[in-house]
Each structure stands twice: as structure tokens, then as C-alpha cells.
């Protein structure tokens, strides 16, 4: 009922804001687990006209998440597996990540225009992965921000991302070309309009993992550092650095957590899942490499049941092994001596 009302309201921007305010009350923080519409029915994708079915869900006044499927890349879900977001500031909209394709970027921009009258002011990409910035073409008229490490990484990887996503997602990618960020941004406070944000830079999921915290609402966009109910992705990961970052992140006492992959939740649930998984990977890979296990044996090992119930199991684990096991293997093989 409430969902339907909100859906109708989103077509009328001013009402949407009013209704959201009424629903949320003060303070503006909403516990995503209880009072906000329990999201997380995946978007309804229309394959015939390449409609991602994007919906904006208000987590607090002016703070919206646009949820993707909690799954692996597939043409059936439009390869939309990321949660993006946008926040009104009074001076314009800050967009957090732009999705996996040009079409996604265009549909996200249209959704923002249906939701608020504020113009888009700038875009921020929280890390270098393709679904964080391949929608940038639809935002070419505003500053596109990322850390300098993320910008360098995107420059390096963009071509391979395009190739791989065209292969995995087919026509959903039509017309997509990577448009790289135009400005560097570092950690620290960020003031836009009436909003104050805190940007924290971590490492471990990638070389540069930004977390954006809206200080008014307490909503934190934690990017790729936290995976909820989903196997973490590791193409640029350093598990030990990642675990250290999660320790630091856990001390920030985040209220509402928006991971890039998996449901929005309160508190430490996703963080602890990610920790448990990375600890299992690191411990198991160390042990198996020391015992001389081959990659194919590692691929066929039995993990704790919890992990196999998460989204993207086992495909993501296959990738984890390809990305990380060779490093553990190298460390275990001692240098041989000349005879």
C-alpha cells in the first residue's frame, strides 16, 4: 500500500518530497529494516525495451537508493546488480555511482528528474569498478568525481570492462563507452548546499574505496567494502587490507548502510558477513596453499553453508579463486636451489 502510494507520488516530485517527509517524520533517519518500505523486491526488468525498472526508495528526506538485483551479472537482470543513489542538497543533486551502462545512466537521470526538481550537480564514483561509472555518459554535463587512485584505475581498466560487459550483458550495453571522471576528490568533509557529508577513503576491496556518509541522516554509502547476503567480489582486492578497513569502518557506528551489492540494512550485519567471508578465504587459502592444493581442488572445496546461500555463489567464488589463490600459492612455494 505504502509502496504503491510512493510510486504514484514519485511521478509528482513535490508531493513525493512532502509525502516522504510525512512518512519519515523527524529525525530524518529511517530504519530501513522497519519503517521504510521493505525494499528489496528486485527491480522489474523489461527486456523488450531495455527498461531496468529503476525505482528510487527514500531512506531519509532527500536521500534515495536505487536498488539493483542482488545477483550475478546476467542479461535477465539487465546486468543491474548495483545499488546506486542520489541525495538532494538544496543546491542540486549529488549522484552516487551511475550504473553499468549508458542506458542505466540515462534511466537513472530520468528517475532523478521524476523524483526531484533539483538539477544534478555532480556525480561521485566510490571505486573503479564498471557498474560505478559506465552510466557516466548520461551525466557528461556535470563534474564527475573520483579519487585519483580510482581515476588511474578506471583509465587502465575501462577497455577491458567494456569488452567483458558487452559479452556478459549483450544489448543492454548498446552505445556504452566509458566516460572517465573529470575531477579528483579526496577524503574529508564535503559541503554541498545544506548538506554536510563525510568522505572516508579505505583500501582493500580496491586500491581506493570511498565511503560517503550523509551527516544529516546518518545514511552511509559504503560502496564495495560491504557486501550483504552476497559473495564479495575481489578482482582488485587485498583481503588483509580489506579486513583492516572493515575494522576501522565498524568503529564509525554507521546507522543505515547502503552497500553497493545486497540489501540496505542497519548496523553491522553486512560488514560482519563480509568480514567472516574474507577471514574464511584468507585462512582457507593459506592452509590449502601450504598443503599443496591445486586450483581445481580449491574451486571444489566445501565452504560453510551460510556462504552458499548468498547471491552470486558459486560464480563469484570461482572469480575469488582466480584472483587471489595464485598469490597464496606463490607464497607457499619456496624458492628452489640450484643443484
Amino acid at each position: 500500500m505504502m509502496v504503491a502510494a510512493l510510486n504514484r507520488a514519485w511521478r509528482q516530485p513535490l508531493q513525493a518530497l512532502t509525502l516522504a517527509t510525512v512518512l519519515m517524520g523527524a529525525p530524518a533517519v529511517v530504519d530501513a529494516q522497519t519503517s521504510a518500505p521493505l525494499s528489496a523486491s528486485p527491480p522489474v526488468v523489461n527486456l523488450a525495451n531495455f527498461d531496468y525498472g529503476l525505482k528510487a526508495r527514500a531512506l531519509a528526506v532527500g536521500v534515495y537508493v536505487v536498488e539493483g538485483s542482488n545477483a550475478d551479472f546476467s542479461p535477465a537482470n539487465g546486468c543491474n546488480i548495483i545499488n546506486t543513489g542520489f541525495i538532494t542538497t538544496g543546491a542540486g543533486v549529488l549522484v552516487i555511482n551511475t550504473g553499468s551502462s549508458r542506458r542505466y545512466g540515462e534511466q537513472l537521470r530520468a528517475l532523478i528528474a521524476r523524483t526531484t526538481r533539483e538539477p544534478v550537480l555532480q556525480v561521485i564514483a566510490l571505486n573503479l569498478h564498471p557498474d560505478y561509472f559506465l552510466g557516466n555518459q548520461a551525466f557528461a554535463d556535470v563534474p564527475l568525481l573520483a579519487t585519483s587512485a580510482t581515476r588511474a584505475g578506471m583509465q587502465r581498466e575501462a577497455k577491458a570492462y567494456e569488452d567483458n560487459l558487452y559479452r556478459l550483458c549483450g544489448d543492454w550495453m548498446k552505445g556504452t563507452e566509458s566516460r572517465l571522471p573529470t575531477q579528483s576528490i579526496g577524503p574529508g568533509p564535503l559541503r554541498i548546499g545544506q548538506r554536510e557529508f563525510e568522505l572516508r577513503e579505505f583500501t582493500g576491496h580496491t586500491d581506493s574505496d570511498l565511503v560517503l556518509i550523509d551527516k544529516t541522516s546518518g545514511v552511509a554509502f559504503v560502496g564495495g567494502l560491504v557486501f550483504a547476503d552476497r559473495v564479495p567480489t575481489t578482482p582488485h582486492a587485498d583481503p588483509l587490507a580489506w579486513l583492516r578497513s572493515l575494522d576501522a569502518l565498524s568503529r564509525l557506528k554507521l546507522a543505515t548502510v547502503v552497500p553497493s551489492h545486497g540489501p540496505v540494512h542497519s548496523g553491522l550485519r553486512g560488514l560482519q558477513q563480509t568480514q567472516a567471508y574474507l577471514q574464511w578465504l584468507d585462512g582457507s587459502f593459506t592452509r590449502w596453499a601450504a598443503a599443496g592444493w591445486e586450483v581445481n581442488e580449491v574451486l571444489r572445496a566445501s565452504p560453510p553453508d551460510d556462504f552458499t546461500r548468498w547471491a552470486a555463489w558459486p560464480a563469484e567464488y570461482t572469480r575469488n579463486v582466480a584472483h587471489l589463490y595464485p598469490r597464496y600459492e606463490r607464497a607457499a612455494l619456496q624458492r628452489a636451489k640450484p643443484p
Partner: protein, 267 residues
């Protein structure tokens, strides 16, 4: 081509004249795949090129080939081959849809007919292991690996940054004699050899690869021989299996196609 009932799990066929169909049955349609479970158009040619037109082959589940369902890293596709047959003389690994299709050939000598390695995959393809037993018959197994492609036509990391010159021919390795998951193996030798393993398919970089390796025991007896080719991954890692732990230290000797020698000891 005659399709005949072969040894237990597989179907043998020979490349002889057509057998007469049984009375009352319609003549069988010619099978362009020659019984290949992967129905690969490359198979008949592959068989002739690498085994000879007269070779007898049999698809056989006892030749077990494991790989990943998809090649997350097409430069390093992990393959494990194990053959549950006695008296294997030669074990060849072929990849139908690679520009260079032969990956390696193992003569087990005193080792088990088994090998693990990583290789460069250019596109989705069957990966086959062909094991020849003492009777001359080739037993064929395989797996299908999906891939985004490009593994053979991209330069490796050490070629890109030039670091290969510092480490060429260095060997690291260990013998593992316990806690191996599954199988008949009671000891495993894992070796890593630093080498760019250039395919020759990247512009301006000629083929440059380890071509032969052998493992010898403390008494200098040869335990196994392996020929390796361009598709084997950069800085290759091999696992070899033994029914009982060989007397170490083991010596790894070999050569690349430019004549650079490899000679190291593994404890």
C-alpha cells in the same frame, strides 16, 4: 567410419571403411563430430593432426579433466588431468579453439598419468586430455571452459613491465606428501618456473617458451618428461603426482625454445 562398442565406459571407433548397418535398420547418418561429446567441428582434424589418421581413439570417462566453468582469467585457466588407467605412455592436452592447440605432452615414466597446469585460452573451447595406453589406444576426456577470450593474444605481465629478464628460468617448488584432497596420489610435486611463455601471437614479440622439462630423483633417475608449448601460462605452475613420495632432493631440468637451460633442485 565404423562406430563400434568399445571398452567399458566409452565408445571406440576407427577411421576405417564404413561398417554395414545391421539388417532392418536405416543406415546411420554420418556423424561429422565422430562421436565427440562436445560436438566440436575441430575434433576430427585435431585427431588427425596430433594423433595421425590411423590412430584409434575412444572417449573415456576415466580420463578426467577438471577446469573452471568459465575462465575468469583467460591468461591463467587452471586444468587438472588425472587418468584412471594403467600403463599410460603419453598424455597430451589439446584445446580445440586455440590458435595454438597443443598445450603439453607428458610421459609419466615413474609418475602417475596426471598433471595440473594453467594455460592461455583464446575463446570458449573444449579442453581435451588424450592418454595413450600400452595397446596403442588413445583414451580421450575433456571439459568445456567458457571464456571472454583474448588469452593468447595479450602480452603477459612480466613481458609488459620487462621484469622477466630478472627472473628467467628460476624455479620454486615443493613436494607435498600429506593432506592432499582425494585421488590416488600420495605425493605431489609442485613447481613454478619463471618464464614469459610468449605465444608469438602478440605483435613484435616472437614465440619464447619453455619447451622441455624433466624431473629426476636423487639417484638421477628420470621420473617424468614433459614437453610444453606456447599456450602454457606465463611463469607456469605444474603439479605432478606420484603413488609414493620420490626420493628427494629432486632435480628439475629443462630448456626453452631459445636454448636457455633450466636446472634447479627442489627439496
Amino acid at each position: 567410419m565404423a562406430l563400434a562398442a568399445g571398452g567399458s565406459p566409452g565408445v571406440a571407433y576407427t577411421a576405417g571403411p564404413s561398417a554395414r548397418p545391421a539388417a532392418g535398420l536405416p543406415p546411420p547418418k554420418a556423424d561429422p563430430f565422430e562421436g565427440d561429446p562436445f560436438q566440436s567441428f575441430q575434433w576430427p582434424e585435431l585427431r588427425k593432426e596430433f594423433l595421425g589418421a590411423a590412430a584409434r581413439t575412444q572417449f573415456d570417462a576415466r580420463v578426467r579433466v577438471q577446469g573452471p566453468a568459465f575462465a575468469e582469467d583467460p591468461m591463467n585457466v587452471p586444468i587438472t588431468v588425472a587418468v584412471d588407467l594403467p600403463g599410460v605412455q603419453r598424455l597430451i592436452v589439446l584445446v580445440d579453439r586455440n590458435p595454438i592447440r597443443k598445450v603439453l605432452e607428458l610421459q609419466p615414466v615413474a609418475a602417475l598419468p596426471a598433471v595440473s597446469f594453467r594455460f592461455k585460452l583464446e575463446q570458449a573451447s573444449p579442453v581435451r586430455a588424450l592418454a595413450q595406453t600400452a595397446d596403442g589406444l588413445w583414451h580421450v576426456g575433456g571439459t568445456w571452459v567458457d571464456s571472454a577470450g583474448g588469452g593468447c593474444t595479450v602480452a603477459g605481465g612480466s613481458r609488459a613491465d620487462g621484469s622477466w629478464t630478472q627472473t628467467l628460468g628460476q624455479v620454486s617448488g615443493r613436494i607435498y606428501a600429506s593432506a592432499l584432497p582425494g585421488g590416488d596420489s600420495s605425493a605431489r610435486l609442485r613447481v613454478r618456473i619463471m618464464h614469459p611463455m610468449d605465444t608469438g601471437l602478440v605483435g613484435g614479440i616472437p614465440a619464447f617458451f619453455v619447451s622441455k622439462l624433466a624431473v629426476r630423483d636423487a639417484a638421477n633417475r628420470e621420473l617424468l618428461r614433459i614437453q610444453t608449448f606456447e599456450p602454457v601460462s606465463e611463469n607456469p605452475v605444474f603439479s605432478f603426482e606420484f603413488s609414493k613420495a620420490p626420493a628427494g632432493p629432486l632435480r628439475i631440468v629443462g630448456v626453452d625454445n631459445n636454448g636457455n637451460r633450466i636446472d634447479s633442485r627442489v627439496e
